[in-house]
Symmetry: C2
């Protein structure tokens, strides 16, 4: 018999019950908080047309897309034509984020509310090199508002993620806030040519990972002279001055000044909600994705390199699907990062899963009687597993403790005749004869 | 600007909020019932190695697998070598069902309980021709017990799905029960050669779709003579006689007779649980999948061609991964079928989603004040959306009714000063001044 590997593929994970208890705890809170802000759920398919996905994430994103191989005739035709490319061999791929599918959905369904406030909690796939804490299948938890340029929408998405972190028990998060137009103004003022602006932002985005020296090197590789790079970093440093935003806002009506005004207003709005005291202007925040057009956000906690999530305003993306501009703003929380920090910090409450009671029995009790008793106990709200065989009782009890049940309900011919079970508390070892109708109360009281 | 198609790919669906309310209603009940039977959750990755998937579902299954195209160097190498096959171009694919991943998991994690009772509710993907009610991405809701040959496990998986259907509101379901060994005996007795047995079962599996004449034609195509086919159908018809199972059980110790005994015992066990009165022996039930080895099940409701789900015992599948045999039995409910019937029969209760209150305001109320009031109302447990702009009040109220909110909370300078909102019931039109602390009680009482 050939042995097949039984591990999940590289970068993929199986989630057993204890993992899922933790994941569901977090997702339940995310969902409840997002709904309390008036967001409604959306789920989009795992598979999207490549025409939807390509060209939205930049060249690196395109390379990390999972593509689905054509089948049968289409595959044969693609191979026949000689020197086939990726585009000849596939025209569908896996969801890469939740923002592009949202843009497609907004363009497709004309009956959505004028302000479509949707949340979406689903996995995405990226054929990235797996590493500690980096997976090829991972969940994102997004909130977005489409259809308005009002900064209130920006404040609401920041408020929603802040409230999520509060309810999960995070006391030390910070929302970093910047504006693409302000960043652009500072980049141009440093003497960087307009056509190098995007590449400069990609280098700048790595500041918290590689430091100022690293960014200088990276900028040099991207064709920006050392003196210019130094000017940029100095300009950004100067922008950290507390008075910078107010001064810039009053300077003129340039895009940079307008952005500074928008940021001041947004800081005030965010401070009126659950992110009060937890939001800072961060002139070095860049965000990697190219589609942002206005305010950008990132949320961090102490001791974690990188962020728990980020987002921003992207007023042009939906237009790529719809042919007319629809403004939008959103924030995405990374579920895996949140779980990682919560596990390290032991932030999970006790989470109940698995059977509360294992029904054990002596060999003279018919299986049908065990099924009848289990059906009754389940009807009273208990989670009940029936031990499927009848080895020695000790073995059955050991199993019951092993699967985490708090009690074993033991059934012999005598108990069966009397309509009771011998209810054993597997923690204390105490055992009592309990009428079937009272088992749920006993087990519930003991938990 | 080039228009990109905004539809999901063929066979795929977007789920908007009303769809998800219905899906979550059903999944919530499935999950609760499965857990009440002591099953614990498992989730496996979307992507599996092709070595895990290939050869488990039969040749048709292999053809319907989605395969993921190699990238960069691996793709280049595959194409260089000339006349590449599917296996040169891909070594990973999408999950095709939930049973094979379970078998891989049981083989991989040696710390699982001796009787691993897992449930799994996840989508699967099949590159099938889409049709009405048939999708390429669809959800299955599986329960399985591994590690025991006890018929109690078979009865428990049948009991769990029966209880799910009961709690969903189905009063007319039937579990059809048969046994692969009994079927095999009847096939051989009809004079069908042992090597044609599998192909005969595939034809027989279509009986409820294409009728006896259709099966006879299909058997003929598969090399089984008309007289033999007629004998098989007559034998199966005779097996419907009420006394058949008892007579066959007593006949001898042949595999067919042992299977009849096992079925009699299982019928009795199932009748002791939630499927009481809803289980029948059906000698024509065949099931398409090749891995079944013992009892097989299918669950149907009146007026629906095809089944809501099915399953059976498969004692050899895990051994294909583990190298040693681990018996197993399971039942799979099809979520899409259940939703289809529940929608046709209007079986859904009223499902609440979306904001309960839309906060509207006059233009002289600052946005920050609206955020503060919304934060307060959310803190009292309400789902609150803030209208992000300040057009005429009538337009804001119209929007609030459109998104299904029961109330609008209207904020003017006067209300703001007094710590109240003008709370408008959007159904009755009634409007009252209500202190912020009382809004939740008013809205709750009105629902």
């Amino acid at each position: 018999m050939t042995q097949i590997s039984t591990k999940p593929p590289s970068g993929m994970r199986d989630f057993l019950a204890p993992d899922l208890a933790r994941r569901r705890h977090v997702v339940g809170i995310v969902q409840r908080v997002y709904e309390s802000f008036g967001f409604t759920p959306l789920e989009t398919p795992t598979i999207e047309n490549l025409s939807t996905l390509l060209g939205k994430y930049g060249p690196e994103g395109d390379q990390l897309l999972y593509r689905l191989l054509h089948r049968r005739e289409r595959l044969a035709r693609a191979l026949e034509k000689g020197s086939p490319t990726e585009l000849d061999l596939a025209d569908e791929g896996l969801r890469y984020d939740l923002t592009v599918p949202l843009a497609r959905v907004v363009a497709n369904y004309r009956t959505l509310p004028a302000f479509y406030k949707r949340y979406q909690i689903q996995p995405v796939w990226r054929a990235d090199r797996p590493a500690k804490g980096r997976f090829r299948e991972f969940y994102q938890c997004d909130v977005d508002v489409t259809g308005t340029r009002s900064p209130l929408a920006d404040a609401e998405v920041c408020g929603a993620v802040a409230q999520v972190l509060r309810e999960l028990g995070f006391a030390d998060f910070t929302i970093h806030l910047n504006h693409r137009e302000l960043l652009r103004a500072l980049v141009l003022e440093a003497g960087i040519a307009r056509e190098l602006e995007s590449t400069a932002l990609i280098a700048l985005d790595k500041l918290d990972k590689i430091g100022a020296d690293g960014v200088r090197d990276e900028l040099a590789q991207r064709g920006i002279e050392n003196a210019t790079a130094a000017a940029l970093l100095a300009g950004l440093e100067a922008a950290r001055e507390p008075a910078f935003l107010a001064q810039r806002a009053q300077r003129d009506d340039s895009p940079g000044a307008l952005a500074a005004r928008a940021l001041s207003e947004l800081l005030e709005l965010i401070a009126a909600g659950p992110a009060a005291g937890r939001v800072v202007f961060d002139p070095t925040l860049a965000r990697g994705l190219s589609y942002y057009t206005g305010p950008i956000f990132e949320i961090t906690v102490r001791d974690l390199a990188g962020s728990l999530g980020g987002g921003g305003r992207y007023d042009d993306l939906i237009g790529m699907f719809l042919g007319k501009q629809v403004p939008a703003v959103g924030f995405s929380l990374g579920l895996e990062r949140i779980l990682l920090v919560m596990e390290e910090r032991q932030m999970f409450p006790a989470l109940a899963f698995g059977p509360q009671v294992v029904l054990c029995r002596f060999a003279d009790v018919p299986s049908a009687a065990a099924v009848r008793v289990a059906t009754l106990l389940r009807g009273s709200g208990l989670r009940v597993e029936v031990f499927p065989e009848t080895p020695a009782l000790g073995k059955q009890l050991q199993y019951a403790a092993g699967v985490g049940a708090s009690h074993a309900a033991i059934l012999g011919a005598k108990e069966l005749a009397e309509g009771v079970v011998a209810l054993k508390d597997l923690r204390s070892g105490e055992q009592q004869s309990v009428p079937l109708a009272d088992v749920a109360a006993r087990v519930g009281a003991a938990r």
